[in-house]
């Protein structure tokens, strides 16, 4: 990267390329990839996630009927069974279900990224603070976390949506508000165990500031469990948002959200079975992908858990 001016920036050190300076991390990554690759179910997960990501990126350009995602109406084509023209059939206003599913991919991914992102941004610092500071700080943070974890996230989210009003934005806000406690619990226990490690003590004796200890020693060592949990939570957040959509509190039609599609599609069972069936399959495969990937990452980062 900065091979052009290594001598200028640091004349005392011999010139090294980026690859040389990061040789050990590169070797570590190679080892991780080697372990991950040999795990069949983890690879299935990765493939599913990659397909899903690609679809969410390119879906606006590949869908067969782009207008159908925004609530176009062509009653002549309503409730057609799967065919060459409409692979997954059409819905009650004649929209192509495949088109709506593909466009919905991006929405689901956005929802998952926001919820998981907010949860890590809020949860990780609180967890580190609780684990590192101890005392009253820890007591207060952890008790609040316990209270939030004592009610199923979906129930609390429904209560918050009911207070804020029905809709996709409020559903995302509600799920973000209830999702962080899991990260606090995870990071707190990890920080507690890291705090006593010799290298943290050594850093402190060498005069490192608290901020430096937290950012360069504690946080990097918490990253792998956070990554595993975040991967799983991407799937769980998609599931939760679809659940809210299904019971009518999340995305509202004609937004092409998978849960909301099933919610309408159920009224057309059993005759028009394709309407509710395909969105459910999409949710299942996506969540499965993130879960398998999370499992695979855990096996890579934590060899003791392998095969569990």
């Amino acid at each position: 990267m900065n091979t052009a001016l290594p001598e200028l920036s640091d004349p005392g050190r011999p010139s090294e390329s980026w690859r040389e300076r990061h040789a050990s991390s590169i070797r570590q990554m190679r080892l991780y990839w080697h372990t991950y690759r040999r795990n069949a179910s983890a690879m299935v997960g990765l493939v599913l996630v990659v397909i899903f990501l690609l679809l969410s990126l390119i879906s606006p350009w590949i869908v067969p009927y782009p207008a159908d995602a925004t609530g176009a109406v062509h009653m002549a084509d309503k409730l057609l069974p799967p065919s060459a023209a409409h692979w997954f059939g059409t819905d009650e206003v004649g929209n192509d279900i495949l088109t709506r599913l593909l466009i919905g991919t991006r929405l689901s991914l956005e929802i998952a990224v926001i919820i998981t992102g907010v949860a890590t941004i809020v949860g990780v610092p609180l967890g580190i603070l609780a684990g590192f500071r101890g005392g009253w700080t820890r007591e207060i943070i952890m008790r609040v976390t316990d209270v939030f974890l004592s009610v199923p996230a979906l129930v609390l989210a429904i209560a918050i949506v009911a207070a804020l009003g029905i809709g996709i934005v409020n559903a995302i806000i509600a799920l973000s508000l209830v999702w962080w406690p899991g990260y606090v619990r995870l990071v707190e226990s990890k920080t507690l165990s890291l705090k006593g490690e010799a290298y943290v003590e050594a850093a402190r004796l060498a005069g490192a500031s608290t901020a430096r200890i937290l950012f360069s020693h504690i946080l990097p060592n918490c990253l792998s469990p956070i990554l595993v949990k975040a991967s799983m939570d991407m799937g769980m957040a998609i599931l939760a948002a679809a659940s809210l959509g299904f019971i009518g509190l999340g995305a509202q039609p004609p937004t092409p959200e998978w849960g909301a599609m099933i919610s309408i599609g159920r009224n057309y069972l059993p005759t028009w079975w394709w309407y509710a069936t395909f969105p459910g399959l999409a949710i299942y495969l996506t969540v499965l992908g993130f879960n398998l990937m999370g499992d695979g990452l855990r096996d890579v980062f934590d060899p003791k858990s392998r095969g569990r």
Binding site: D146, P152, A163, I166, G235, I247, G280, Y284
Partner: protein, 336 residues
């Protein structure tokens, strides 16, 4: 032991107060106006004002919280605009159905999960193990409401083996209420046909609801069994000529069971959350259906009531599991 139980009870009370603070904040501090939330969407302004005054919503927040606590201690959870009944009455009416569903579902998860976990630990990496893993991985990934619809489609609508929805067929009258659990009440009354009807109605929702719990139980039990089967006492038992069934199902399972039990406690709470989705699919008249119907009608008080009830249930379930845990594990029993 008594000291430990006392401590746990005190902790439970702290948690309950914490939960009340959370529900209070949601209902009183959320951007929506709590008085108009309580009055319902179509209430005239005078009525909103009246409610604001009646509930003390014009007073400062800490005073409001004390009033809120007082009300809850007297069993007042507000009024449902949609049903026209006090929320406590509604909850008392709908909770037994949910409790029955969750209990049957958990029983299915335990009765299937423990043997499946055990067998896949014994047959590690055998096709059986892989098949079980597919079940346990899918169990948490499949959207429960969709699975319910698909089971309805296949087993109720297509094959006609099981009823589509509800708690009883229209031909059956509910049994005399003793426990309010139809399966038990019908047995107490000796009404076999009602029992069979109630059982056939509960199978589909209970199976749908059990999958995430089943998945976790299989996973934890399998992992713990693998660990236990590698221990010296198992080798010793085998060397002494004790049969494989006894070695696995008694010696190893005993040690694998405790972590599984902890998972069961955790999953019970999550099941109470999942029941909201399943009840809405199967028109199961429990607190989950009550909550979703209230939420769609923007009837606010019932939702807070359901949230509190589920939270309290989850906390009590965890307490019971903790107590069972120390009672079952001789090491902690001695220590406590």
């Amino acid at each position: 032991m008594a000291l430990y139980i006392g401590k746990r009870m005190a902790f439970l009370i702290v948690m309950l107060v914490g939960l009340l603070i959370v529900t209070f904040l949601i209902s009183h501090v959320a951007p929506g106006d709590p008085a108009s939330l309580a009055a319902g969407p179509d209430a005239p302004p005078e009525m909103v004002e009246q409610i604001r005054h009646e509930y003390g919503l014009d007073k400062p927040l800490p005073v409001q919280f004390v009033l809120y606590l007082e009300g809850i201690l007297h069993g007042q959870l507000g009024q449902s605009v949609r049903t026209g009944h006090p929320v406590t009455e509604d909850l008392a009416e709908f909770f037994p159905a949910t409790f029955e569903l969750v209990t049957v579902s958990m029983l299915i998860a335990i009765l299937l999960g423990i043997p499946l976990g055990m067998l896949s630990a014994v047959k590690q990496n055998h096709w059986f193990d892989h098949a079980t893993r597919i079940v346990s991985v899918s169990g948490v990934a499949v959207p429960m409401f969709w699975l319910g619809l698909m089971l309805q489609l296949a087993l109720a609508l297509d094959l006609g083996w099981l009823p589509l929805s509800g708690r009883l067929g229209i031909m059956s009258a509910p049994p005399d209420p003793v426990t309010h659990l139809y399966l038990i009440d019908s047995l107490l009354a000796g009404q076999w046909d009602v029992f069979r009807d109630a059982l056939s109605h509960i199978i589909l929702p209970a199976v749908t609801l059990c999958f995430p719990a089943l998945a976790s139980i299989i996973r934890v039990n399998r992992a713990e069994m693998i660990e236990a089967l590698g221990q010296d006492y198992i080798v010793n038992a085998r060397a002494q000529g004790i049969g494989p069934f006894r070695t696995v199902a008694v010696y190893a399972l005993k040690n694998a069971f405790l972590p599984t039990l902890a998972m069961i406690g955790l999953r019970y709470g999550w099941m109470l959350g999942g029941t909201i989705l399943v009840e809405s699919v199967f028109d199961w008249p429990g607190i989950g259906l009550y909550a979703t119907q209230s939420a769609i009608a923007q009837d606010f008080q019932p939702i807070m009531g359901v949230t509190l009830l589920i939270g309290a249930n989850f906390m009590i379930a965890n307490l019971l599991v903790d107590l069972a845990y120390i009672w079952l594990d001789p090491r902690t029993r001695e220590a406590a």
